[in-house]
């Protein structure tokens, strides 16, 4: 009897693992494929049917993609834009969040409600006038055109406001009593104490900008201004490039975000479990 239950349990656990294994293979295969193609020779790739393992550790694709395509330029553009957007977003969001949390001024609640209302307007809805505005400014195909429209998000202001609100009130009152100005409080107390939230905002902002597709597609005309997402898909349109070169480019582009994910997954899950959605 007990043996029967034990066997049944082993069987169910076996099924449990088998199912997870199949799902894991399905989920990971597309990513694995990009990396395995990176090390395949053109002959291997062009042989009929898909290949699962590279026969040798061929480095020619990496060399060719670096030499014949501006992929490093694309990566540089994406990093430059994403870092500057991130810095801009942190500065403007932190300032606004401080204003909304610690200062009282006329119309504060109305302005905050107005800000929150923009969360309901997807960027696709406003993209046409924004594009026409960039044309009028002469900002098409420039870094400022890629960066400036994104250096404020209401999400960022909201996130930092929630974290500022949780700072110990006594500490701030004590600083006020000592005659610290608001700028001083902002720079030397509120910002340093909110480093985890600012870090989270920075990561979300960076990855979000790195992934932008529609806006850089509209804003970049010349090859040297393209960001990774646009540049990499345009490689595929160039007839002379074979699949292994394109996928090598994909693998190179993926490497930074995969590394960040693997290094930071625990914190990410912890951050999600820790709060945010709890009511």
């Amino acid at each position: 009897m007990t043996n029967g239950i034990g066997l049944k349990k082993v069987f169910i656990n076996g099924l449990h693992y088998a199912f997870l294994l199949v799902m894991a293979l399905l989920v990971v295969y597309p990513i694995y494929m990009a990396f395995s193609y990176t090390f395949m020779t053109p002959q291997e790739v062009n042989s009929p049917g898909p290949n699962f393992f590279p026969e040798s550790f061929y480095l020619g694709n990496i060399q060719e993609v670096l030499q014949s395509t501006p992929i490093l330029r694309f990566i540089f553009n994406s990093f430059l834009v994403a870092v500057l957007v991130m810095i801009g977003e942190i500065v403007t969001s932190a300032l606004a969040a401080y204003g909304f949390t610690f200062l009282s001024f006329k119309g504060k609640n109305i302005i905050f409600a107005l800000f929150l209302a923009t969360l309901m307007v997807p960027s696709e809805v406003t993209v046409i006038p924004r594009y026409l505005m960039m044309q009028a400014f002469g900002w098409v195909d420039t870094y400022q055109g890629l960066i400036v429209p994104h250096i404020v998000t209401v999400f960022g202001i909201f996130l930092l406001r929630q974290s500022f609100k949780q700072l110990p009130r006594e500490l701030l009152d004590a600083a006020r009593m000592d005659g610290a100005s608001h700028f001083r409080m902002f720079l030397s107390i509120v910002v340093p104490l909110s480093r985890p939230a600012i870090g989270a905002l920075g990561a979300i902002s960076f990855l979000g900008t790195y992934n932008h597709y529609l806006w850089p597609l509209l804003m970049t005309n010349s090859e040297e201004m393209r960001t990774v997402q646009i540049g990499i898909t345009m490689l595929q349109n160039e007839e002379f490039l074979s699949w292994n070169i394109v996928l090598t480019g994909v693998a190179i582009v993926l490497l930074p975000s995969l590394t960040i994910l693997i290094a930071g997954l625990k914190q990410l899950v912890a951050a999600m479990t820790g709060g945010g959605l709890k009511q």
Binding site: V27, M33, P129, L247, S257
Partner: protein, 316 residues
């Protein structure tokens, strides 16, 4: 705070009180100006790149424009009438809803199943957790390219597998009856990472003792899942549902890269048609009309979600 103090001091003002009152008024002024100063950068950027374009979109939707974006003439409701009597527009609405229907439930059910099966501390679960989160690192550009190769009729994996099973091959992205399904499968895969991470957090949010007492009471795994886990993590499910619906209505990149809205307009989703109208045909007025209809549709669906969905959500 400042207001209260001045009120307290109002009766019987001496010259000293008067002085204090003046400094308080001054302080309040200072704080007002400082407050506006702190929010000014955010206000300026949001005003220029969100508020102004939004009202400009509304304005443009009532006009026709020339190719450089200048107003040509007032069209009244003509743009709206034109779209709602246009079969291409109506079919793009339908295709977008179909895409939402194909992707959102499948992705959520899959992510929930994987979260429930991997939340515990058994051997190897951390590796599974990492693998199921991986698609979050994928971007629209890189995913689309990889899946383009997977769907390749001659060298792709899918037709290779079909061939080995003795089944006829499929023109995944070139067959009007398969293209939307193909892009949907890829989109489910892409959204799996984020949905899985959020739902994994949700499953962990349910206290372990609840499972233990349920098991002691002899409840089976399926009953625990349906009657305890799902209701207790419903805020997470609701959040994932609302954000997934909104993002599937906004899908654009995978369609632009994989199918260009084709074949035979079978994957011409809403934002793709907006993009074509505005940035390929240079009809900015009509494009703005489409944008506003998108806005209304998203508002309406979000409102419906909250009206009917949140009632079922159980907050602890």
């Amino acid at each position: 705070m400042a207001k209260k103090l001045t009120e307290l001091q109002a009766p019987g003002l001496s010259s000293k009180d008067n002085y204090q009152k003046k400094t308080l008024v001054l302080q309040r002024w200072k704080e007002n100006i400082l407050g506006y100063g702190f929010i000014f950068p955010a206000f300026l950027i949001l005003g220029a790149f969100v508020f102004y374009p939004f009202f400009q979109s509304v304005y443009l939707s009532f006009f026709t424009t020339d190719p450089s974006g200048n107003i040509a003439e007032f069209a009244g409701f003509q743009n709206y009438i034109h779209l709602f009597t246009n079969s291409e527009f109506l079919s793009s609405l339908g295709i977008t809803l179909l895409f939402t229907l194909y992707t959102v439930p499948a992705s959520i059910i899959l992510a929930l199943l994987l979260a429930v099966l991997t939340y515990n501390k058994w051997k190897g679960m951390q590796i599974f957790q990492l693998i199921f989160s991986l698609p979050i690192a994928m971007t629209i550009g890189t995913s689309s390219l990889i899946w383009m190769l997977l769907y390749d009729p001659s060298t792709g994996l899918f037709n290779y597998l079909l061939h080995h099973l003795g089944l006829p091959s499929i023109q995944w992205l070139n067959d009007p009856s398969w293209a939307l399904i193909s892009v949907s499968i890829m989109s489910i895969w892409m959204s799996l990472g984020l949905n899985y991470i959020i739902l994994l957090a949700g499953v962990r949010h349910v206290p372990e003792e609840i499972y233990e007492s349920a098991r002691v009471d002899g409840a089976g795994s399926l009953r625990i899942l349906l009657q305890m886990t799902i209701p207790l993590m419903s805020p997470y499910l609701f959040f994932v549902f609302v954000t997934s619906v909104i993002s599937s209505l906004q899908a654009f990149g995978q369609f632009n890269i994989l199918t260009n809205g084709g074949p035979a307009d079978s994957t011409n989703v809403f934002v793709y048609s907006l993009y074509q109208e505005a940035f390929v045909n240079f009809q900015y007025g009509l494009g703005s009309t489409r944008a506003l209809i998108l806005f209304v549709v998203i508002m309406l669906l979000t409102w419906l979600n909250f009206k009917f969905g949140e009632r079922r959500v159980h907050y602890q």
